[in-house]
């Protein structure tokens, strides 16, 4: 269908000016957009206020849809499970064998742990989560991986707190609204997390790659000691995450480390818990300039 020829409105000056103004306003709009984009790339926190107000407004709807998602996920999972049953079965058998071995190792470690703790007379300090909440939404259409949580400052969440699913780390609270908060997911390309290999102390950084995998970059260079199937847990350095929470499983080796799959996929996570920042002193210490620290 040919469009109505709005571009040639005839001899009416008024209509001609109207069209011209439309183009000018569109041009100005694009320019303003470019400036705003530049500003928010320069300082990503610039427009957080309106964003969190918007997220707060949508959060109740998100609660409802999250519930619907949980129930419908069973159906989708059974379909995909059917679809990849063969390869998955083989993979599961292999993983099962590995898991048995790891379980035996873990029991040994637990025994030793108990013994050592008894020696030191340490109390087992279980971390009490700040709040347990649903993931109410995510930026599913965007390359940047953020998720929204149905709890905000009114329930004690503050920026920087680690977010943990039942299986492992999900991400970190980036900004907080009254009743919702935005989480930087592990797979976002801006996310970096200090990790170590579960069975020994090979330390590394786990960086999001933006395609659902994490890149494990070893801190000590040399011969790559990693193997497919190695599990990485948080190392606790940096002070945000407490050590020993599962993060990723190595799925492919590279020159300087490995590619790893996240253990706690946010799509499969229903409830998450927000933990307090593990070592707030370390973080405020790192944020304090050296001169100030010396003068105190």
């Amino acid at each position: 269908m040919a469009p109505p020829s709005k571009r040639r409105p005839g001899f009416s000056r008024r209509a001609q000016y109207g069209i011209f103004t439309g183009y000018v306003v569109a041009g100005i709009g694009a320019l303003v957009g470019a400036v705003l984009l530049g500003l928010s790339l320069w300082r990503p926190a610039n427009f957080n206020g309106p964003r969190m107000i918007a997220a707060d407004a949508v959060a109740p709807v998100g609660e409802v849809s999250a519930e619907a998602r949980t129930t419908s996920r069973g159906l989708i999972e059974s379909i995909t499970g059917y679809y990849r049953a063969g390869s998955q079965n083989a993979e599961l058998k292999r993983e099962m064998e590995l898991a048995r071995i790891r379980l035996a190792e873990a029991e040994a470690v637990e025994q030793e742990n108990k013994r050592l703790k008894a020696l030191l007379a340490l109390q087992e300090a279980e971390v009490e989560p700040v709040v347990v909440s649903r993931i109410v939404g995510s930026t599913a259409a965007s390359t940047r991986r953020f998720a929204y949580l149905g709890a905000g400052s009114s329930r004690g969440v503050t920026a920087g707190m680690p977010v943990r699913g039942p299986r492992g780390v999900v991400g970190r609270v980036l900004e907080v609204g009254r009743n919702s908060s935005r989480i930087l997911l592990l797979t976002d390309s801006q996310s970096v997390l200090p990790v170590r290999r579960a069975q020994d102390n090979v330390v590394a950084l786990a960086e999001g790659r933006g395609d659902g995998l994490l890149r494990i970059r070893l801190i000590n260079l040399g011969i790559n000691p990693l193997e497919v199937g190695d599990v990485f847990v948080t190392s606790g350095s940096g002070g945000y995450y407490r050590p020993g929470v599962a993060v990723a499983v190595v799925s492919e080796l590279t020159n300087d480390g490995a590619l790893a799959r996240i253990i706690s996929d946010p799509a499969a996570t229903d409830f998450v818990s927000v933990d307090p920042i593990w070592q707030p002193d370390a973080i405020s210490g790192a944020a304090t300039p050296v001169e100030e620290e010396l003068s105190e």
Partner: protein
């Protein structure tokens, strides 16, 4: 043949003509509401580790623009973009810039090819969506890498394949938009 001559005068597909008017609230509200809703929807679907859901707000915008030229003004990318930026996860300003530029581009394209059928609309939309997502990714502040672009492919495919369905839905909404109501 149901449409006798007199009947065709008294009725059309939007209802009886006698003593009934289009509602301006519906005529402008439905396109607006569907685009605004489209911007919010992807947020509620799934918390996946990779981008997967098509940019519904953007697709609704180009759908309306291509199917029913004349109701989306050329400057609409600015206000609609602000709304989309609140929810999309891209840095603020990204949609304002890209949506404005999209509308200008479609205007130029329409001047060049005034007659267009659905297949050409689909091609146009596919091209625009692909360019939009790639540029938005490059301007998203993410550390760009090849695997990240590769991870976009499922989303791109899904968006392109979904466009006919979305344009059907928009055509439905377009009929609803011009429903006549009795004046009280």
């Amino acid at each position: 043949m149901r449409t006798a001559y007199r009947g065709a005068v008294r009725r059309d597909e939007f209802g009886s003509r006698i003593d009934r008017r289009h509602s301006s609230l519906l005529a402008y509200g439905i396109p607006l509401a569907s685009i605004l809703l489209g911007s919010v929807l992807p947020m509620l679907f799934i918390a996946s580790a990779v981008p997967l859901v098509p940019p519904m707000g953007f697709m609704a915008l180009i759908g309306w623009r291509l199917i029913r030229p004349g109701i989306i003004p050329i400057w609409a990318g600015f206000p609609l973009g602000i709304w989309d930026d609140l929810f999309s996860g891209f840095p603020f300003g990204s949609a304002i810039l890209l949506w404005s530029m999209t509308l200008v581009a479609i205007e130029a394209l329409e001047a060049r090819f005034p007659w267009h059928g659905f297949v050409q609309d689909w091609l146009t939309a596919a091209l625009i969506i692909i360019v939009y997502l790639l540029v938005a990714t490059l301007l998203s502040g993410a550390h760009g890498s090849f695997p990240m672009l590769l991870a976009l492919v499922p989303q791109l495919l899904l968006s392109v394949l979904l466009f006919p369905i979305i344009s059907r839905m928009i055509a439905r909404l377009d009929r609803l938009r011009l429903t006549r109501f009795r004046k009280f």
